[in-house]
Amino acid sequence: MKYILSVLVCFLLINNLKAQERYLTKQGTISFFSHSPVEDIEAINNQVLSIVDLETGDVAISILMKSFMFEKSLMQEHFNENYVESDKFPKAKFKGKILDAENLENKSKVSIEGDLTIHGITKKVKVEAAIEIDKDSVVLKGVFTVLVADYEIKIPSVVKNNIAKTIEITFSLNHKKIK
C-alpha cells in the first residue's frame, strides 16, 4: 500500500514538473498576406490559441477562420464563404514538435515540424521560428508560405489575378507559463 502510494506521489510530482513546462496563449497573432498585381490582401487574427511544452517540444495551435479581420468586408465575406468555407471548416490547426528540443534556453532559432490543417486538408509543414524563452514566457515568431492549391482552396478564374498562389503567413505567439 505504501509502495503504491509513493509511486502515486512520484507520478503526481513528475506530472506536476511537466505541467510547469507548459506555456499558453489565447491572444496570439497570425496574419496572412497575398500579393498580386491587382491588389494586396491582408488579414489578421488576434485570437490564436497556442500551447507549447518545453519538456517535450510539442506545439499545438488552433485558430478560428472567422476571426480573421480584413480591411474590406467583401474580402472577408469571400474568404469565409467561398474560399476556406469557414461554416464547414471553422478551424485551422497545427500540431507539431520543435525539432532538437534540448537546451532550448540557449537557442534563438528552432525548426518546428508538424501537420497543418486548413480547409479540412492536412499537410506536413516545416517552419523556422525565432524563439525567446524567459522566466515565465516563451515567444515564437516567424514567417512561412503555403500554397493555396495544397489545401484545395478553389479560386474562381475571374479573380485569379487578384489572389496570390502562395500566401505568406506570419505568426507571433507570446505564451505565458501555465500556473
Binding site: 491572444q27 489578421i44 485570437q47 490559441l49 478560428l64 472567422k66 468586408s73 471553422p90
Partner: protein, 144 residues
Amino acid sequence: MKLTKRKKIGFALLVVGVLIIALALSQYYKPHIDVYNANPDIITNATDLLYEYENDEELANKKFLDKIIQVNGQISKVEASENNDIILTIKNQKDGFGTVICNLSTKENKKLINLKEGQIVSVKGICTGYLMDVILVRCNVVNN
C-alpha cells in the same frame, strides 16, 4: 434637338455602364457590419453560452456563428491585444474551464478606464466560434 437612334442607344449604354461600375464599387467598399448600432440577434449570458458550446459545438455554431450576440456576465480579466485593442474575458459562473473572450473594437478604447475585474457588463459582438473559449469580435460594451 432630336437625338438619333444611335445616340439614344449610346446614352443608355453609358448610363447602364456607370450604374454597374457604381454598384461594383459600392460592393467592393461595402463597410463592415456596424455592431455598435445593430440590434443583437441573441441576448444571453456567458454561462449559458458556454454551456451550449461545451455541450454540442456543432449545434452551437449553427446557432451563434456570425450572429451579433449580447453577452451578460462578470469580467475576469482586462487585457490589451498586440495592436492595443481591449480584450475582455467574461467568466463562466459555473465551474468551467472556458470563458467568453471579447475583442473590443478600437472605438471602445476610451472605455478602458471604466472597465474593472469583477464588474458586471453586457458586451455585444460577432461570434466567430469556440476554441477553449467562445470568441466574440468587433465588440462594444453596452452598459458600464
